[in-house]
């Protein structure tokens, strides 16, 4: 009555291999993998771009924000127009070292003011459409065949839509030390054996899904937990490493992963009320973590292989609200950070008078997909049209090494 379809022993003698990560050979059928790594850091909740990179040289900023506008003397000035939020000493250092590109005014047409909708648009790189897969997932589908395992790592509790892929099952975890099946020695064989029973998949698709995930878990858990066990943190990532230390550990272990995704989670940047202290603190955490990560990569000699994209789902309303906070807005800056980056300003700086729509939101000056396209075309060296469906302007931000 029941068909025996497939039997796969996925792991062997895992108990004996701790500390001895076997080098993995991948036969790459695809020439398009150039060894470069992209790390995306999402600031969820809608980071207030105007209070991150503050246009103190424009009086209109203070007119819109009489109470929560950051005073000139508090800012970390980078030129005679912009100053960094006082909390981002780490980013200021990276900027001054020429490792941080600021791309201004990133947004899209008909912006959604819903966190979840707007973030979904950022994740799919397809605003106002029903795209099913994420842009990182589609990038993976294009770059690597499904036989290339562990191409995407998403450090998070749950999987981001950004990494949803047709062909790849992303490795998703948030506690590498826990990413292991526990059990007695005698149980290992049965525990690690996956039996697919696809006789009812047409009726129960949940079951098929669970089997796929179980397969991926068996294939990746040893890699991750061993990489983490071998890693020692030698730089200061601050109060919250935002999981960038975990990514550093995997890069140091030379995982085949090329696309990493992590997030400052749980809508943290949604600063409707009394935002200044909170926002500065959040930015400090993120900025310390990014600086720690870049230092860590430099320590291991891998800094030139990696760039970090820092993004959020939307900027915030230009005028402050009465609660000493800001409501959901539209465009905002994105950052690309790394030793291969040619630091500086890119994109048109939004106009705080004529650049506002009826709802007092910034009209975008850069389609956010231009930033994605820049990374895809100029960093990963893949034709972005295949992923983003059309051509977007790119920025020349990598001419240091690429």
């Amino acid at each position: 009555m029941k068909n025996i379809k497939r039997r796969t022993f996925l792991k062997t003698a895992s108990a004996a291999s701790i500390g001895a990560l076997t080098p993995i050979k991948y036969s790459l059928s695809n020439e398009s993998i150039n060894g470069k790594i992209l790390v995306v850091l999402e600031l969820s909740g809608g980071n207030d771009g105007l209070n991150t990179i503050v246009p103190y040289g424009d009086d209109n900023y203070y007119k819109h924000r009489p109470k929560i506008g950051l005073k000139e003397n508090k800012l970390l000035k980078i030129d005679d127009y912009f100053g960094f939020n006082p909390g981002i000493v780490g980013l200021e250092a990276l900027y001054k070292e020429g490792k941080m590109a600021i791309i201004h005014g990133c947004g899209y047409d008909n912006p959604s003011f819903s966190h979840f909708t707007s973030m979904a648009y950022m994740h799919t790189a397809a605003p106002n459409s029903g795209e099913e897969y994420g842009w990182i997932g589609r990038l993976a589908d294009h770059m690597a065949p499904s036989t290339y395992k562990n191409f995407i790592v998403n450090v998070d509790k749950t999987q981001s839509l950004a990494v949803k892929s047709k062909m790849h099952v992303p490795i998703v975890f948030d506690h590498p030390e826990r990413y292991q099946r526990e059990g007695f020695y005698v149980q290992k064989n049965v525990l690690n054996t996956l039996v697919n029973s696809n006789n009812d998949y047409d009726i129960n698709s949940s079951r098929e899904f669970l089997n796929e995930i179980a397969n991926s878990a068996n294939q990746s858990s040893n890699l991750i937990s061993e990489a983490w066990a071998k890693y020692t943190r030698k730089v200061d990532y601050g109060i919250d490493a935002v999981d960038l230390d975990k990514i550093a550990a995997l890069i140091e272990a030379d995982l085949p992963t090329r696309l990493y995704y992590t997030a400052f989670r749980d809508n943290a940047f949604d600063t409707h009320v009394h935002q200044n202290n909170l926002h500065t603190r959040l930015l400090t955490y993120a900025s310390d973590a990014i600086r720690g990560f870049i230092s860590d990569l430099e320590r291991m000699g891998r800094a030139d292989d990696v760039v970090v994209l820092v993004m959020t789902e939307f900027g915030r309303r230009v005028p402050e609200n009465t609660s000493l906070g800001t409501d959901h807005g539209s465009a905002g800056p994105m950052f690309v950070i790394g030793t291969s980056v040619k630091g500086g300003h890119y994109g048109e700086i939004p106009d705080l008078v004529n650049g506002l729509d009826d709802g007092d939101n910034l009209k975008y000056t850069t389609d956010f997909r231009s930033v994605y396209a820049t990374l895809i075309d100029n960093w990963l060296k893949v034709d972005s049209k295949n992923i983003l469906r059309k051509n977007f302007q790119t920025f020349d931000i990598f001419d240091r090494t690429v």
């Binding site: 039996v195 995930i213 730089v235 200061d236 230092s295 409501d327």
Partner: protein
């Protein structure tokens, strides 16, 4: 009824009957036309498997005896028992046992540590503590209390979660608890923002009171609960410059969904909610701050109040569909078709947003019992834990493993939903790592950790621990802070760590350390008991005589979706190998551990995630 379940001789009989019926029914194929058909099944269609499915979905599953009890009631009585539960007494369910950590100084708790110290500097007092007249670290006691409350409320909220978990396991009204959980996910407030267990406890009671009541009453009660008012900044929403947070979420997440309103509707609705606020735990409308001008919301114009807005929202066609869709996804299947949603939305509207008739219709329908909708639901971590404990026959939540740590490791922490949209549910519960955690969870109650430490009580943060040691050895605060930052061993110092001791009036890291100590002195501990189940007895009482029967009994008891025969054979031969025989009666003196290992294997299967 509980007495019957506890009567062991009768249980034996039940199980024989149960197994017989089970094996009889396993081959029965349902009519394929049932999928998508909301007509009720007939009493002839009712069988033990349907009772099992019903208890799994309308509750958290149960023991074979509980399933048999529901089966014996017959279809309509079973549904009445689960849905129309008013006459089932819950007066013996214990109230939450509070730790007494709150005092009047903590009312109107400032939004942040800087806001607290600013208030203290300006007024000479904060959190009920006066600023020291002179001397070093004048604000330190205030900063200590600030961190005390953050930690204490957090710890107490975890105790509330424990209390609720016990209630989910032992309540004679399982649907009431399941719907309370559903509403917690629908109106998802997070302790990190609310920062007051008292408000979350009140909200939990509100969800329970209205669990299967009227949706309109529920929304109004929830909107007026201090937790929600605080969570969505309602108190900040005042005439002249409204804060849109609450108005946006009530449309987007609570009633209509994106695409059924415009931005201007949000702005106008926010005006109607102006002046809504709390006085500690009481709802108040501040008339001076309420906007009394005319508003236009979804093409209706008038001087609307907050309640009026809720009525306008519920009068939209999208409203009933929105909530029905969410209920259907939770109780029937993540995959939906629009026709059935429209049909059920009609039921909800006809009943004036009363939920019981809708739930009864869903649980009676052919669709609900169709093959496609059985065993298709991926359990949330809380469901997985509660249903596991229920199927084991436990009456309360064990202390080891820690309930909150277990569910957190699997991706869900009660009272800490990740965002205002709640947990995404369905497939998002499963990632490679989370699937492994689910198997590890089974092991953690079968083989409790003897080195268990409650990490909320005892800090795992090395910075705090290093500071603690330095202070204990007599170091001054500044020196202790420096050593907690790793001294000179770090290549560079982050901004945040340098800021820990920048103000001479107080030291934030010391405050967080002392606050922690103060919190663990006051919050009552959680009892760390472990499960104590005799699996040998459970299996032998079932009548099983050999390893195949033992494995089949455990599979039937714990799984909704059966594993295939190859895996079953693998587990049987595992048991044979570990016992050295297939005769479990012969092996009964050393059967216990091998049975636990078998149970761990069964619960590690992908199939165990389905209900």
């Amino acid at each position: 009824m509980k007495l019957i379940w506890l009567n062991i001789r009768k249980i034996k009989l039940f199980i024989f009957v149960f197994l017989f019926l089970f094996s009889f029914n396993i081959s029965a194929k349902e009519n394929p036309n049932w999928y998508g058909n909301i007509e009720p099944i007939t009493s002839q269609d009712w069988d033990i498997n349907k009772a099992k499915h019903l208890l799994e979905r309308a509750g958290f599953g149960g023991t074979p005896e509980e399933i048999k009890f529901l089966y014996n009631l017959g279809l309509s009585k079973a549904i009445e028992h689960l849905v129309y539960y008013e006459n089932i007494s819950v007066s013996e369910m214990p109230k939450f046992n509070e730790s007494d950590i709150h005092d009047p100084g903590l009312i109107n708790f400032p939004p942040s540590r800087p806001a607290t110290t600013k208030l203290a500097k300006e007024t000479g007092e904060a959190l009920g503590i006066k600023v020291k007249e002179s001397g070093n670290r004048k604000l330190q006691p205030i900063v200590n209390k600030f961190f005390f409350w953050l930690r204490a409320s957090r710890l107490e909220t975890k105790r509330v979660a424990y209390w609720w978990a016990d209630r989910m396991i032992s309540s004679p009204r399982p649907l009431e608890e399941k719907m309370t959980l559903f509403w917690h996910n629908h109106f998802a407030n997070n302790e990190t923002k609310v920062r007051d267990y008292r408000k979350l406890l009140l909200q939990n009671e509100t969800f329970r009171i209205h669990a299967t009541g009227n949706f309109r009453d529920l929304i109004i009660a929830t909107a007026k609960d201090p937790a929600m008012l605080y969570f969505l900044d309602a108190g900040q929403n005042i005439k002249g410059s409204p804060n849109e947070n609450f108005a946006r979420e009530i449309m987007e997440l609570f009633t209509l969904g994106v695409g059924n309103y415009e931005e201007k509707d949000i702005r106008e609705a926010a005006r109607a909610f102006t002046g809504w606020n709390t006085n500690d735990l009481e709802f108040v409308v501040n008339k001076d701050l309420h906007d009394n001008e005319s508003k236009t919301i979804l093409n209706k114009t008038g001087n609307f109040s907050g309640e009026d807005v809720i009525d306008i929202l519920l009068s939209q066609e999208a409203a009933s569909k929105f909530i029905v869709k969410k209920l259907y996804k939770e109780f029937v299947n993540e995959n939906i078709n629009d026709d059935i949603i429209s049909d059920y939305a009609h039921v909800l509207e006809q009943n004036n947003f009363e939920l019981k008739p809708l739930l009864a219709a869903i649980f009676s329908s052919k669709d609900f019992y169709s093959e496609q909708n059985r065993g298709s639901h991926i359990k949330s971590p809380v469901e997985l834990v509660i249903s596991t404990y229920k199927k084991l026959g436990l009456n309360n939540t064990p202390g080891v493993p820690d309930f909150n740590q277990s569910t957190t490791a699997m991706g869900q922490t009660l009272f800490w939903p990740p965002t205002v949209a709640g947990w995404a549910g369905g497939r998002s519960w499963i990632t490679p790592a989370l699937l492994m955690e689910r198997g590890n969870f089974a092991r953690s109650f079968l083989y409790p950790d003897i080195d268990f430490i409650d990490k909320d009580f005892y800090s795992p943060d090395p910075k705090i621990i290093v500071m603690h040691k330095a202070i204990r050895e007599g170091a001054d605060i500044t020196t202790a802070t420096k050593s907690s930052n790793g001294g000179d061993s770090m290549m560079m110092m982050s901004e945040a760590n340098m800021m820990a001791d920048r103000d001479e009036d107080f030291n934030t890291r010391y405050g967080s350390y002392r606050g922690w100590q103060m919190a663990v002195s006051k919050v009552k501990p959680i009892i760390r008991d472990t499960i104590n189940i005799n699996f040998t007895k459970m299996v032998l009482d079932s009548g099983a005589k050999n390893t195949s029967e033992a494995v089949d009994y455990l599979i039937n008891r714990f799984l909704t979706v059966k594993i295939n025969s190859e895996k079953r054979m693998m587990i049987i031969s595992f048991l044979n190998n570990n016992l050295g025989t297939n005769n479990i009666i012969e092996a009964k003196t050393y059967l216990e551990d091998p049975l636990k290992m078998v149970l761990h294997l069964i619960m590690s299967q992908p199939e165990y995630q389905l209900g």
